[in-house]
Amino acid sequence: MQQVPNKLTPFFENLNFERDDNTMVINFGPQHPSAHGQLRLVLELDGEQVVKAYPDIGYLHRGIEKMAENMTYNEFLPTTDRLDYIASTSNNYAYALAVEKLLGIEAPRRAQVIRTMLLELNRIISHLFFIATHALDVGAMSVFLYAFREREYAMDLMEDYCGARLTHSAVRIGGVPLDLPKGWIENLAAFCDKVDHEVEHTYEALLSQNRIWRMRLEDVGVISAEDALNWGCTGPMLRGSGVKYDIRKEEPYELYSELDFDIPVSDRCDSYGRYRLYMQEMRESTKILRQLMPMYAKSDSQLMAHAPQYISAPKEQIMTQNYALMQHFVLVTQGMRPPKGEVYVPTESPKGELGFYIKSEGEPYAYRLKCRAPSFFHTGLLQEILVGTYIADVVTIIGTTNIVFGEVDR
């Protein structure tokens, strides 16, 4: 069969792979098993050392910010699932919180308890995923299998609550759609015990003192506190460099001001310190979840905020009361119209500071929505911290930044 010529000449074919100064250019990605998605790196190597790194992103750009300008506020909520698809609820929540702040409403107590529970559960899911993929990239296959085993239990809990494994949409603007199912709290308690046990006896037992793991992570990917701030690092990347800043503590939202938990900080500034930090954060998350369980029992049964101008009434009222039905009809067909204004709300997602900037012109469609994704800035950091490292450490550093391309490219 004769080969028909086509015009398939990607950009990297135009790169000059041979240089006068004896460096070699290597293309990494966009489809590489340890690139955590669609990261493309163009690395300039001198021997085995990286001289220059150029991260190329945008291979998962789906136009989510543009979609926000063409969707009503409630329509857009499921789209936020696909930003950081490892911990969907934290995106849903960040978006819902931004809109709620714009509307000036507050979710009822029980919704707050459920939301905080889901956020922390998502943090555990995301951190388990981090340790699984990070260990796999570095070469520890069994940790991958163990971590995914525990992650499946957490997925079961999420599935019991909202019906989806990955794309939850478990939060609505103004509250949560559903109450917790029967027996969920007991399962959650059992899961917390399991996570605590596994973190100590499986992951840390397998990794913390593992010679290979320590050799590959210690003093790799060192970021000073000043650099971390300068490059816009947040979350574990910032705390791993010794800056104690956690939005849950410093600018508390939801129930975090009432909860007792610690912010783990590491001043090692390297990948190993960050790994320890992630493990510690999972323990803190289970601690928070245990405190939330009695709070749930004490709370009222109302799930959605009462704001007829913006939020539909409960289903029973829609079915029985004419005015509630009319409101619901208008809100569904036209969408809610928040007041004019702009808002930026930061939240602490598992990856770092996830914030939504919303500019409203009083229309049912957002005039501009900007998603401040932590991974976007962590990807930018790669061009600095990869320089001077060895090629084998590149995957370690990509793993330790814990980037997710859904939110990098949006």
Binding site: M1, Q3, V4, N6, L8, P10, P30, Q31, H32, P33, G37, Q38, G58, Y59, L60, H61, R62, G63, I64, K66, M67, P78, T79, D81, R82, Y85, I86, F129, F144, L145, Y146, F148, R149, R151, E152, M155, R165, L166, T167, F405, G406, D409
Partner: protein, 180 residues
């Protein structure tokens, strides 16, 4: 003398009974499908989950390969953006025959919810697809089911199939064109 020349490449005429060879070859092909780990977005996480502890894809003879040269099936899991599309086609071209494609998730099937400027509206615009797997994101069980459907499909095919005859990218009836 060479009076009975058989053109093995162009015709479907293998010199022995086709049915048994077909069955034998297809049995081999269908039971050791090695997919290319082509995770693009959210569905990639479910693809990883299906290869892991609970769902355990290995028991079906499905072992994920990171290189297109070693893979038989391309599981296109996730949103294919326009910027990435040329790489998808390149990876498909790099795979050795016979090769099959599973389009996993709504985004890969039709563009799904991302009806925007940056998303390819269905990967079948650029590569021929054998199995469309709906869902956003499809559960690991459904990916395994899709793999079993693909096995069923392979068992029905001719062992000496010329893949080029089935790569039909046209959606409109009436127009027939072959793409390499």
């Amino acid at each position: 003398m060479a009076q009975h020349q058989v053109n093995y490449a162009s015709t479907a005429g293998l010199p022995i009974a086709l049915t048994s060879v077909d069955k034998l070859v297809n049995w081999g092909r269908s039971n050791s499908l090695w997919p290319l780990t082509y995770g693009l977005a959210c569905c990639a996480i479910e693809m990883m989950a299906s290869g892991d502890s609970r769902y355990d894809f290995d028991r079906m003879g499905t072992i994920f390969r990171a290189s297109p040269r070693q893979a038989d099936v391309m599981i296109l899991a996730g949103t294919l953006s326009k910027k990435h599309s040329e790489f998808a086609r390149r990876l498909y071209d790099q795979m050795t025959e016979p090769k099959w494609v599973i389009s996993m998730g709504s985004c890969a099937n039709t563009g799904g919810m991302f009806n925007t400027y940056a998303t390819v509206q269905g990967v079948d615009r650029i590569i021929p697809v054998d199995i469309y797997l709906p869902g956003c994101a499809p559960r690991p069980e459904t990916l395994q089911y899709a793999m079993m459907m693909l096995q069923k499909k392979i068992r029905k095919e001719s062992a000496n199939m010329n893949k080029n005859t089935k790569q039909d990218l046209t959606h409109q009836t009436g127009k027939r064109a072959r793409l390499i």
